[in-house]
């Protein structure tokens, strides 16, 4: 429905954030996805999270590859640059973009085809490099734009719309990410905005790559009975491992965090993630135990959701490369070119 243009009128009573912007200022163009698509709910959660953290629109870059998920950057924050690139290549392009300008916040929106098949190498290496970005996988287990082929996240036995069961084992992006050094790993459900918004806010504050796997049912090709990525199946099998609150930095609330029964993780910028109702002995900073917990739950066919793992201590791409604090793309030419006298002198090495 690309012909429908959203009206720009804003109701005067709409709440404004620190920048004086309403939530409408974080919206994008009208979605052209199917009515009821899980992706649109995720878009709404992104809009909400960005508005709540008062992200200046022009300091955001929306990155994507190809697929239904990759269309969504057009549907949020019109005031931000977007890059709807090529299938699977978003993590590589974002790595370069991030290297060039560390001041911009990057949200990459990808899908299970984009990230777990054609671009799985790029995703893994972006995770290894700990490129500071929010990396969302809108995971529906199916190729939507090409009409219903299984993706690499389809569970064994999950049935296609034509009734054929998937035979080959799925790739679980959460377990994969944990195994290759991811520093922020979460899973959520597109239908659970209350869980997703605080995760997104914490992800935006994380200094490194924040991987968020969001189960996002495809209403057209993968919402039938027999599918394990349907609304019904996900609602039935999702169990919340952690409930996370995100507390922004330098906030009064800091002093009032109840320590009893609450696990807290302080982020690099001073903000805090509070984990409520975590299972006993669950430590979101212990990679091995988180992995063991997830494997154990998986055996019981549970889809574990929440902010599952966080490690704020590891260096991101810029720290690891000791790059200048001024974005490389903004360095004046004089800082980059050593000049004629130096060239003349260094050529003595070639005599």
């Amino acid at each position: 429905m690309p012909s429908i243009v959203k009206p720009v009128a804003t109701h005067p009573s709409l709440q404004r954030n620190e920048l004086g912007l309403t939530i409408r200022d974080y919206e994008g163009s009208m979605s052209t996805l199917c009515a009821g698509c899980g992706h649109d709910s995720i878009t709404a959660a992104i809009v909400r999270a960005l508005w709540e953290v008062a992200m200046p629109p022009h300091m955001l870059a929306k990155m994507s590859g190809i697929g239904c998920s990759s269309k969504t950057p057009a549907y949020f924050v019109n005031g931000a640059h977007g890059f709807n690139s090529a299938h699977g290549r978003m993590p590589a392009i974002t790595t370069g973009a991030n290297a060039a300008n560390r001041d911009v916040t990057y949200i990459g929106v990808s899908g299970d085809g984009d990230s777990l098949s054609i671009g799985i190498g790029h995703m893994c290496h972006a995770i290894r490099r700990n490129v500071r970005m929010v990396y969302i996988i809108e995971n529906n287990g199916v190729y939507g734009l090409t009409k219903g082929q299984f993706s690499a996240s389809a569970d064994v036995g999950s049935k296609s719309k034509r009734g054929e069961p998937n035979q080959i084992p799925p790739i679980d992006p959460v377990l994969l990410a944990l195994s290759i050094g991811a520093t922020f790993v979460a899973r959520s459900f597109s239908g659970d905005k209350e869980q997703l918004v605080p995760i997104l806010k914490a992800a935006l504050a994380h200094r490194g790559l924040s991987l968020i796997d969001v189960i996002s049912p495809c209403v057209t090709f993968n919402d039938h009975s027999g599918s394990t990525k349907s609304y019904l199946h996900t609602r039935k099998h999702a169990t919340t491992a952690t409930e996370a609150d995100f507390v922004p930095p330098a906030s009064e609330i800091l002093a009032h965090i109840a320590q009893n029964g609450v696990t807290t993780v302080t982020m690099h910028d001073g903000s805090v993630v509070r984990f409520r109702s975590v299972p006993e002995s669950y430590d979101p900073s212990d990679r091995a135990r988180v992995t063991a917990y997830l494997l154990e739950r998986e055996k019981k066919r549970e889809i574990v959701t929440g902010l599952l793992f966080i490690d704020e201590s590891l260096p991101d791409l810029h720290e690891a490369n000791k790059t200048s604090d001024v974005p490389l793309a903004r360095l004046p030419f004089e800082k980059l070119c050593p000049g004629a006298a130096t060239l003349d002198k260094l050529q003595e090495d070639f005599r």
Partner: protein, 607 residues
């Protein structure tokens, strides 16, 4: 019968046959550098295997007082240090030439040739007597044969000793053993042979302030001076040394003295798809970024080169060409990526290409690549090759003009954007059909979605034929316009020229020499070296003005000729091909032989 060669000064070639991984490269480099310091025009061609240790490897040195330093096929002397290849090495020496070999073991009688002189030196035996350590015994054999050559060819001993002192500054023990080995070989030669040989060296002053440098190092310097702050790459022969050199220069010149932070970022990517993706992401964000690769990498980069072309993002790619197809011969040279690069990616795509011919142009054209990429908001591929990139060349000293300012193209500033009511990405084109672009993180009114999917001139998604065509038609005009700004062809004319010769890149030294040799044979040729694509308008004029035109290139399928017939209106039958593509650097003799043969055929037909 052995004949005595007539005395020749500063005009001969010799070849060193070694075993890969035994340390011969440093001895050969030492000889080359010493001759360079004697002020004599010299070239060294490393003909090496795709191997770390054990396979045969050769190094050829040619000296020529007239400055002709293309690969020579006439070897006056063979330094046969590899028993595995004795047979073919001895066969290659010209009649009346010399073979220097390690006589610690007897030479198989069947290898003797009546018409060459053998110079037996017991290198292994002498090194075993003089050095205790087994690794040193192997390494010092190389310096020992270098010493023999110093005597045989009259290489200036003080220069060689000074070079050893520089190399082993602060490592007195190593310096002493190297000096010892050098003199072992030198003294033996003086004692046993008539030194120097009839062909030998005499100091000249032909090198002035020139430098001895390989093209990959010069390319890296160009990227450094152009202000590239981000480099992404995947290791590949023969391009790896571009990034090795870039890293070394960055460590020296790009570390902020106050903060200790790096004003650069080098990303070793997971593959070439990622490498070009990173470059595109960085350039999209306003940095100058590049990748270095070879043919197999270009194959992988095709997809995203199309994205950058269509969405109009600058990118610089250095393609150091090697022998294809597929893995091909990674350590051998060719010019076979021309068509692949010119039209890389699916759909209607065309790219700007630059063809440097030596390290000095690698430096100059690397800088130019960034200016053109940003001016035209499109990928620019600089096509070097293994011969230029990895061999040491005597090159004109690199010059830098401190008044140079990078051409960042049409990028709207924050100030510009404040006064813009609504920015549209692909409107507002200039005389080169280039629109203005905006960068993330600058101002909200510059925001738009960059996309590789069908878009109209406003940057919006479209599937409407007229809107789609409007954009791609402008891209074609833009591409054509770039032909006026790529480096112009270099043309050399001769009075009474009967034919034209056209070449690119690393063919240049051989073709220059061939033009002189042909003239001596009574065939006058005008010579045009093409430096960029899209072709400058004068390229087509030259082709029309010369019949026939010989297109000299290093690939099987006459790719340059194909490009010329595709992109100009010149009749195909006027363009003849001279093709040399076995993987070794071009030599003038092959060019002359082929042109002469074709001209004789033509004359025979006309008679």
């Amino acid at each position: 019968m052995q004949q005595q060669l007539r005395t020749r000064i500063n005009d001969f070639a010799f070849k060193l046959a070694n075993v890969n991984g035994t340390g011969s490269a440093s001895a050969n480099g030492l000889l080359m550098q010493a001759i360079f310091r004697m002020g004599i025009p010299v070239s060294g061609k490393n003909l090496f295997p795709s191997n770390i240790q054990g396979l045969p490897t050769w190094y050829e040195i040619r000296v020529n007082k007239d400055g002709h330093t293309a690969r020579s096929l006439d070897y006056d002397l063979m330094v046969a240090m590899n028993a595995q290849t004795y047979a073919r090495d001895i066969r290659e020496v010209r009649s009346s030439g010399y073979v220097l070999y390690d006589s610690s073991w007897p030479l198989d009688g069947s290898l003797y040739r009546e018409d060459v002189h053998f110079l037996p030196v017991p290198f292994a035996q002498m090194c075993n007597e003089n050095f205790a350590d087994s690794r040193q015994r192997i390494l010092m054999k190389n310096i020992a044969y270098a010493g023999t050559l110093v005597a045989a060819l009259d290489i200036d001993m003080p220069i060689v000793e000074a070079l050893l002192d520089e190399t082993f500054a602060g490592k007195a023990a190593l310096r002493d053993s190297n000096r010892q080995a050098l003199h072992i070989g030198y003294d033996y030669a003086r004692e046993h042979f008539h030194c120097p040989l009839p062909f030998h060296l005499e100091k000249m002053d032909a090198n002035g302030d020139k430098i001895l440098i390989d093209g990959n190092t010069a390319t890296a310097l160009g990227c450094l001076y152009a202000g590239a702050s981000i480099a992404a790459w995947y290791p590949i022969t023969p391009a790896t040394s571009v990034m090795d050199a870039f890293r070394q220069f960055c460590e020296r010149y790009r570390r902020d003295p106050e903060t200790g932070r790096n004003n650069y970022c080098i990303l070793q990517a997971e593959d070439e798809l990622a490498a070009i993706g990173m470059v595109i992401g960085a350039c999209w964000n306003g940095a100058r970024a590049f990748t270095s690769t070879s043919g197999p990498g270009i194959s992988l980069m095709n997809e995203l080169l199309g994205l950058a072309y269509y969405s109009e993002i600058p990118a610089v790619v250095i393609d150091v060409q090697r022998v294809g197809p597929s893995t091909g011969m990674p350590t051998r040279t060719q010019q076979a990526d021309l068509l692949e690069c010119a039209y890389a990616s699916h759909g209607d795509t065309k790219h700007i290409l630059l063809f440097p011919s030596d390290p000095a142009e690698c430096f100059e054209f690397a800088v130019k690549s960034f200016d053109l990429a940003e001016r035209f908001q499109t990928p620019v591929i600089m096509l070097s090759d293994l011969d230029i990139g990895m061999n040491d060349w005597v090159a004109p000293r690199l010059r830098w003009d401190d008044s140079y300012r990078p051409d960042r193209g049409r990028v709207l500033s924050e100030e510009d954007l404040k006064s813009v009511a609504k920015f549209h990405r692909y409107t507002d084109e200039d005389q080169f059909y280039v629109p203005s672009r905006t960068l993330p993180g600058v101002h909200q009114s510059g925001a738009y979605v960059t996309r590789g999917s069908g878009h109209n001139k406003f940057g919006g998604y479209t599937e409407t034929p007229s809107e789609y065509q409007e954009v791609v038609d402008r891209l074609a005009r833009k591409q054509k316009a770039a032909g006026s700004l790529v480096p112009h062809p270099k043309v050399q004319t001769r009075s009474g020229a009967q034919i034209g010769i056209v070449a690119i890149g690393g063919c240049n030294p051989a073709v220059q020499e061939a033009v002189d040799l042909l003239a001596a044979d009574g065939v006058q040729a005008d010579y045009m070296r093409i430096c960029g694509f899209p072709f400058h308008e004068s390229v087509e004029r030259f082709l029309y003005d010369h019949d026939p035109c010989f297109i000299v290139e290093q690939n099987r399928d006459a790719q340059l000729r194909s490009l010329l017939t595709l992109e100009t209106c010149v009749p195909k039958n006027r363009l003849r091909s001279v093709l040399v593509y076995g993987g070794f650097p071009l030599s003038a003799r092959l060019v002359v032989e082929e042109i002469t043969k074709q001209l004789e055929v033509t004359h025979a037909v006309h008679r």
